[in-house]
Amino acid sequence: MYKYDNYDQTIVDERVAQFRDQTERFLAGKLSEEEFRPLRLMNGLYVQRYAPMLRVAIPYGLLSSEQLRMLAHIARKYDKNYAHFSTRQNVQYNWPALETVPDILADLASVEMHAIQTSGNDIRNTTSDQFAGIAQDELEDPRPYCEIIRQWSTFHPEFSFLPRKFKIAVSGATHDRAAVKVHDIGLYLVKNEAGEIGFNVIVGGGLGRTPFIGPSIRPFLQKQDLLSYLEAVLRVYNRYGRRDNIYRARIKILVNDLGKEEFARQVEEEWLHIKDGVMKLDQKEIDRVKGFFTAPDYDSSAADDNSFEAAQESNKSFTNWAKRNLFPHKVAGYKAVVVSLKAPGIAPGDATDEQMDHIADLADKYSFGEIVVTHDQNLVLPNVKQADLFILWEKLLEKNLATANIGLLTDMICCPGLDFCALANAGSIPIAKQINDKFNDIDYLHDIGDIKIKMSGCMNACGHHHVGHIGILGVRKKDEEFYQLTVGGSSESDACLGERLGPSIAKEDVADVIGKLLDVYVEQRQEEERFLDTFRRVGITPFKDRVYPKKPVKEKAHASN
């Protein structure tokens, strides 16, 4: 993984000193609340429902075991012994005291981490594929480009006060696991007719109140033009993105208002001025950064092992886990292991200090000391020998980290909602619990198979509900929590927005309604169809009819909503 040199370290150290000074000025009354606000926000420090919330950047989701141990240490020393992994591959602390935040940042800096640009109207942490570097369907590892983008975007002087926040995602695989098309800029590594590898540039995707699947504005961009092209897109956005209404301020609105052709034309025009200047990337630099993301020392005899198969034959729980929580590896005899942070009764994405320490130890022992955060709020040990899988599973079990549910109904994405977030309309964590309580039969869950439930506590869509196979959106009606369901969304290569099922439903009915949707699926599915495939084939009507049975005409006059 990337290692800081003196330059990188100096920047984060200077940032800590700067924020320490700002915090001291604030606590001494020399900075007003209003003046301190933008400064703390630039360090990922929000003030939420009960306490400040600190968001820490995990560039493209990649952590060393040492870094994960530091996250555990911070949870223990400054917070209530846990942390929350988010859909943006970041981590959040819900209870730090303001005066300790400079110390937390200093602790982070000691392991090459920071909270820079994790909030504010700037370029946020660049996200990527959790299986980058090991996936079989990968054209090229996207992480070197994420790191190049990270450095270019850090304290970018021109783009620190954009109309709104700005999120970039990069994927190098045929199967999109990074929700690329719902980002402000999404980059796919692709090969052109000449056999060169470059980027397909998607601009203007996003969720929130007005969701869009982003269009491609340039099907092929040479690698050395990456930064100059990004700079051109950002400059057009910085100049012309709307600033009069925060709900209309994201780049998706600008792209949609201008039309993608006109937007692309403006970008290309701007780009022509800068593409051959100092922004042009040296191949040498690309190669240097690539040098940090080399393959570990794989055991060439890993595939000779027979114990993995034998263990599956003798242990059903292990088999269930192996079926769901392993991901194929490009090296024979290796697997990527998904550590589920979705155990029943736990808020999705939460991990305790003990769990984090435990995972860090397991990473050292079984996965070359690396851990990846996924955008569906789980952790990955990317390089595990199949001979080690059984013992690893047993050790994960010890700390409630081996729930065999990856990609299943209970592997939900869930935002903090009413429990923590000041903007929430409704709870999401209690709904996750309700779903877990109802669907607790592992055989049923495995039978239902792949399905993505995504849940947000308000239309800001932190929980990606628009692109869930089943999306759940918290709304408020006469001061009560209600839930709006959508069906048929996807954030992958076939990205699309879900269709609204019907009027919002009462809180206590959510899990039951999901049960009805699943019943329709079970009745209608053919062969290997997933829930989403069946939905696409049969359409929304059978699902609608089951949840909202037609009422006799007489009663209809009284029906409300």
Partner: protein, 162 residues
């Protein structure tokens, strides 16, 4: 007015005319005029005065000024609120693309914690918001010694130093 320039606090004779109707009489002294006033009175201004300066905010495209840049000692960029970042791009265009050699001045909601970014985009003088302490603001230029990316200052992409 009191401004920060070249890392020092200095006084100069310029002041900003915030509001001026196009048909208002020409103000005396060294005044930074609204750009629309310049446009309306360009010829008579050029006749009667030797030094000129204008201000714009994010609503005016820099491109509109370009043919007149040679006349301006100062182009002031207005930040109605520090969050309005359009003038960062304006500053870069003035510097990088149109090679403007006069003084680019930040006016409006100009605060300590933005100065370094402004400077890096090619802004050369800063009129701090009235209630702010200029001595204190000078420290902003020392917060960071490393710059990752090239901009309008002398920084090169950091990898070229590695």
């Amino acid at each position: 007015m009191r401004v920060i320039k070249d890392n020092k606090i200095v006084n100069d004779d310029w002041s900003v005319a915030r509001e001026l109707d196009a048909d208002a009489p020409m103000p005396d002294g060294d005044i930074i005029l609204p750009f629309h006033y310049w446009q309306a009175n360009r010829d008579s201004l050029l006749d009667k005065k030797t030094k000129h300066a204008v201000w714009i905010n994010g609503d005016t495209d820099v491109e509109e000024l370009v043919s007149d840049l040679e006349h301006f000692s100062i182009v002031a960029l207005d930040f109605p609120a520090f969050k309005d970042g359009r003038c960062y791009s304006h500053a870069r265009l003035l510097h990088d693309r149109y090679a403007y050699k006069g003084d680019v001045r930040a006016i409006g909601d100009v605060l300590r914690d933005q100065l370094f970014f402004m400077y890096r985009c090619g802004i050369s003088s800063f009129q701090l918001r009235d209630d702010k302490d200029a001595e204190d603001a000078l420290k902003a230029f020392n917060d960071f010694t490393i710059r990752y990316q090239a901009a309008a200052d002398d920084a090169v992409p950091i990898y070229k130093l590695r």
